[in-house]
Structure formats: C-alpha cells, structure tokens
Symmetry: C2
Subunit: 395 residues, 2 copies
C-alpha cells in the first residue's frame, strides 16, 4: 500500500504506469482500525503535504475560507481545505488563477487543496439548468451569463486551479427523486466519470469518483461498483444532506463503506453537523467538508462540548466565561461570551472572525480527538461519550 | 517635566495635590524639536503604558477596531487606540462594561485607550438633539430612545470604561456657524470643561480639554486660553474636518499650536488623510485619530507611498504585485493586488481584514517614519518628500 517511486496503482492495485521519477499524486496509508467500529486511522499524502485522517476540510468557496487567514486555518488545525470549482470558474475565472500561478499561490495557502467538480453548485445555484448527455447548460447566479459545464471542462478547471485532489463531475438529483430517474442519473454519472478519468492528465493531482444513488442502498452500491471498475484514487458519497432524515443519511453511509476499497480514502461530501461526522467516521469514512462551522459562526451559532449555543441570547449579556470552558482556542482563551454577544449585536466583522475561529477549532479538534480514540482502539466509547455530552441534538 | 511620585501638576506647573503613593495619570516628556518646523518628538506615559509621539490612534468605535484583533493592532504598530463614549454608552452600556472589569479587559486590549467625550457623536449621529446649559437631550440612532448627556455623565461613562485618557464634553457647532453663535458655544464648552474637571475623580485617568472656535483663529486662541486657565493634562483641537477647505483646517492647526503648553500633549481630533497628519505634526501636534484608514479599507481604497489606489479597478485584475512594493506589511508580503481585487468584488470578509491591516500599517508606519525624521532633525525634508511622492492628492 505504501507509495512506490515511479509507479501508480489503480484502486484495484493494478499498476497503471511506471515512469522515471514519477510519484503518485496521492498515497493513502491505513494506520489502524478501531476494534469496536468501522472507524479507521489513516495518512493521505498529496502533492502539497500529508493529511491525517479522519479529517475535516474547511470550505474556501471563493478562494478564502470566510473570515479566516491561511495562518489562522493552520492554527486551528486545518490540514486541507476545499475550494469550489463553480464559484472560481465564474469569478475570477480558472484561467486567470492559472496565469497567476494557481490557486495555492493566489490565496496564499500552500497546504493540500481539494476542489469539488462544480456539479453540486450547478444544481443548487445555477439558474435555468438543462442536463444533456454532453453536460449541463446553466446561467450564472452572479450575472445570468450562459455557461455549459461538461466533465471535460470540470477537469480542465480543476487542473488550471492546481488542486491536489480533483472530483469527478456528477449529477446531483433532487431529493426525493423517482427510482427510475435515480437509476438513469447514476448511469449518467458513471459515463461522466469515465470521461473525467480520460480527460484527467495532471499527474500531480489525484482524482476521486462520486457515488450517487439517492437514498437507495442498492443503487448506492451499484454506483460504487461501477466507479471502482473505472478506478479512482479515492471515492466520495455525494447527494447526502439534501433534505433526508438524519437516520436515512446515516444508513447510506453504512450501506456504502464496506464495498469501497479499504486501501483508498473515503470521503462524504457536504456534511455536516458534528454528530454526522462522528457517524461518518463510525461507518469507516475518512474525509468530510461542510460550510456549517463557518456559516453557523456568522449567524452566532457556536459549537461546544455540551452542544450548540447561540451567542445572541440575552443570558450571555454579562457572562464573563468563554464560549466553552473545555476549549483551549484563541477565542476561548481571550474573549468572554458577553463581549462576543456585543460584537454580534453590533454587527462587527470581528464577530464573524472570532466565531468562525472557534467553530473551525471545534471541528478540527473533534477530528484530532477522534483520531486519538481510534489510535487507542476506543472510538466506540469516544462516540458514546460525545453523543451523551450534547444536550441539544439527538443522534 | 518628569513625573514626581506623590505629586500632580496643572498645565501651568502648579502642584494640584500631593498624595502618598500617587503617580500622575499621564506624564509627557518632550524628547526633541525639529529645527526646520514645529514638529516635536515626545513620550507620553499612561496607566497602560508608554506612547511614542507623534502617534496615530486607530478608532475602535464599538470596542473593536473594525476587522482587526488586538494582536494585529500591535503588529501594525498601534500603541494606543480610541473608543467612542457615545456608542459604548448606548450599547452595551458603560455600566455593563464596568461590571465586566472595564473596557481593556472587555475587548482584550491592554494598551492605552483614549475615549472621546460623546460630544461629536451626539451632534453627528444623535437625533432630535436639544442643547441647554445643563447638557444635550438626544435620541439614540439605534432605537430612538431618549437620553440626556451632560459633562458629568460623560466623565462618569469614561470613568466606568476605564480609559487612560478621557476627553471633556464639548459642543461641536456645525460648519459654517455664525460668529456670535461660535462665541457663545465656545463659552459653553468652557463652562462644560469646568464641570468635567470638577466631576473627574479617577486618578489613574488623564483628562484633556477640547479647543473649539470654528474657523476663526482668534476664537480658537481664546478657547485655548480659557481651557489652559482651568488646566488639563493635554489639549485637543475639536471641530476640524467638518466640511471646511483643507487649507483652512491647516491654518487652524497653525493658529493654535504655539499657545498650547509645550510640555503637554497636543491632539487633533478626527483627522485625517495622511497629508493632514503630516501637516498636524508640522504644526506641532502629537496625537491623531481618524476612521479613514479602516473605513476606506472597507471601501477598497488603499494608501500607498505613491498615493491612494482603489483595488476595485480593472487594471489590477491580473496584477501579481503587492499593494505597495515599498510596504513590508503582512498583506504586501503575501497577497497580490489581483487576489485582493477578487476578494473585494466577491464581498469577502477577508477583503475588509487585509485592506484594514494594510491601511493601518501605512498610517502607523508613516508616524514611525515621521518620528525618525524628527529625531534626526530632518522633518521638513521628510514632509517635502512625502508630499512630492504622492500623485493623487495636492497638499
């Protein structure tokens, strides 16, 4: 499983090519498996550095994780961030970013970057979208201009951005969708994945496939099987957290993980709440991303070891304590709830900054504690304690 | 001029009182005078530390310098900040801040703080204001609630906040105002200054008087004379940058500085552009504050050694250079104009952050360079070079 210089292997372990001086774009090493769950500890090496898994990836939609500098992202424990192909394609344009030296240099982040394929945003933000075999016609949410995104263009954009990990362009069907539509959509996503694989030439960039199939375990497994046949550097679940019940989302995680290759990274896209991440880890997944910590922060919703609080609440008006007495982040070390409430009510930029800082620290610290628990073979107990300590959300 | 333990002196050098263990709230030491101008180099010691003068004070209106952390303020060279009595009185309330341990602790800034008196904001923001001998009735700009601000209340608020330097409550007449109105207003400001002096009991806090008198040098001098008779720890010019021509503002600076005590700090409130600060220093002033660097930053207007630029401009779309090649700040070291333009156009919080960081660094670096020039007796030449290098604003 360890990387061999000059060799690249498919998901089935087939040698894809051997080249003088070549190193695979990513190599995943499975370090430990938890005895009481599917949880796994791993190490993913990318062109811009190594990542400990399970990991959470802060979302830097427009080439910035909202309200944070790259140095602060490192301070809160970020090892890899996500950027959005759709947004950067529309503004400032992937070609411009490429001419300026790529996304890492553009945004002053030299750690690993994963880019999504643009698929999800085309379906959630793009207007008047029209799907064909070739790709998706849509209008920009910024200025209404017409665009046509194809698997080949998505890969070209992600190549121009210079992401360490690119994602296949997929169709994200709405929830709920009829069974036969989901079957056809899944087949289209597979054909698009084949085209992505063919179009993908950047050897310093990994390419992950995206499993679809709605909320039907058998469709999810069929999608996974088809993608594995093509062979990718890692596999993701797409189309979750789209309005389904939390228990259904968790069922989908468990339905897919055991058929995905054990020696490759597994990623659940766009989730979620802390309890979703813990369940994803429990089901054997390694990578997660979500706007929740930063978006909630800007709305005053803060994550703590005892559940969520909203800093707007009048009970915090004279509260001299930190957000979370159990937290050791910069914000909890230096600022009171009373001050944070004042900043929020006064609509100050520092409110968004400090709240985002704390929430990202919470997410990344949760991942670090989950990794430690797996390393010590006590993830099942860790998960139980985590869920028991929270008084706001039921698992 | 040096502080004597157990003694406090008035501006005329009279011993005000002697007390066991007493140290004056501030002591000002004049270090050097420039041979070719009125510029002076000084050192002002406050309860929370020493300040090199001339100095610029970033404005922290609502207990935060917009978009900046206290650590970043220190990194850009801030030695003292200003907070607004009017805003903090209305929200979250000075009594609340006092109960929480004072403004320094509340906002996590342990350097010196100067608070204004609330006078300027009452006149510029307060609604339905009504001036009487006793004080000013006004309605809050936030919720319309009725308030009555008096010299005594202003001093009580500034005492509760725990500012190192408090300002006398003054009337700020609109510009232009009739001569006889300005005369009466000036006399009222003097009577209010007497009441402020009487109400001021906090021994760890300095109290500065505010010179008014519109754009009439003789009224300005009369106001200064009356305030000096009362005796304060320092003197400020209020009511400048209210719509008058730049040359008129500069004339007022020069009209007042020579009659103010040489051995006490001189402060011009609410100005200004970099060229106004340089002219204020040229006229013999030591302290300045203005929202310009932070407010302009949030609008994309950036200060450079060659004048102002607006980062919105299309010419910066692919500009890989820093804001100012002559600047060594964090922003100029790490980010391109192209990226900053992208952030601004994308309405990202990081745009306000990085632009504020750079602009404050510019202001504080300008003060540091002015101090170095005075120390070396070459301020006149420094001023000339400064004005010549700028291609956007005429002196």
């Amino acid at each position: 499983m360890a990387a061999i210089a000059g060799e690249a292997r498919s998901s089935q372990g087939n040698v894809l090519f051997v080249r003088e001086g070549y190193l695979p774009a990513t190599s995943f090493q499975l370090i430990a498996k938890d005895p009481g769950s599917q949880a796994r500890l791993g190490s993913l090496t990318t062109t811009h550095g190594r990542i400990d898994t399970p990991i959470f990836m802060p979302v830097g939609t427009q080439a910035t994780v909202k309200a944070m500098t790259p140095e602060e992202l490192t301070e809160v424990g970020s090892q890899i961030i996500l950027a959005n192909t759709y947004h950067l394609y529309l503004r400032p344009g992937h070609d411009l970013i490429e001419r300026l030296g790529g996304l890492h240099r553009f945004m002053h982040w030299d750690g690993p970057i994963l880019t999504d394929s643009g698929g999800f945003q085309v379906f959630s933000l793009g207007e008047l979208r029209k799907i064909s075999e070739e790709g998706v016609k849509f209008r920009s949410h910024i200025d209404g201009s017409a665009h046509f995104l194809t698997p080949e263009l998505s890969i070209a954009i992600q190549g121009a951005l210079g992401a360490d990990i690119a994602m296949c362009f997929d169709e994200c069907p709405p929830y709920p969708s009829p069974y036969d539509y989901l079957e056809k959509s899944l087949a289209l996503t597979t054909r698009w994945a084949q085209r992505c694989k063919k179009a993908h030439t950047r050897k310093d960039q990994a390419l992950f496939g995206i499993v679809q199939g709605g909320m039907h375990p058998e469709l999810r497994r069929e999608s996974a099987r088809q993608l594995m046949e093509i062979g990718f550097d890692g596999y993701a679940l797409g189309g979750l957290s789209v309005g389904e019940e939390r228990s259904v989302m968790h069922d989908m995680m468990h339905a897919c993980s055991d058929i995905l290759p054990e020696d490759q990274p597994r990623y659940i896209m766009g989730i979620g709440a802390p309890e979703d991440l813990i369940e994803g880890i429990n089901a054997g997944f390694d990578m997660f991303d979500c706007v929740m910590p930063t978006r909630n922060a800007r709305n005053g919703a803060l994550f703590t070891s005892f559940g969520r609080i909203n800093i707007k609440a009048a009970i915090y008006a004279e509260d001299t304590g930190p957000i979370d007495p159990a937290c050791g982040c910069y914000v909890c070390r230096n600022y009171s709830r009373a001050y944070l409430r004042h900043l929020y009510r006064s609509n100050e930029i520092l409110a968004s900054r400090l709240n985002s800082w704390h929430n990202l620290h919470y997410y990344l610290d949760l991942m670090a504690r989950a990794r430690a628990a797996i390393a010590e073979g006590r993830f099942a107990a860790f998960r139980k304690e985590f869920l028991a300590a929270r008084n706001d959300v039921k698992s």
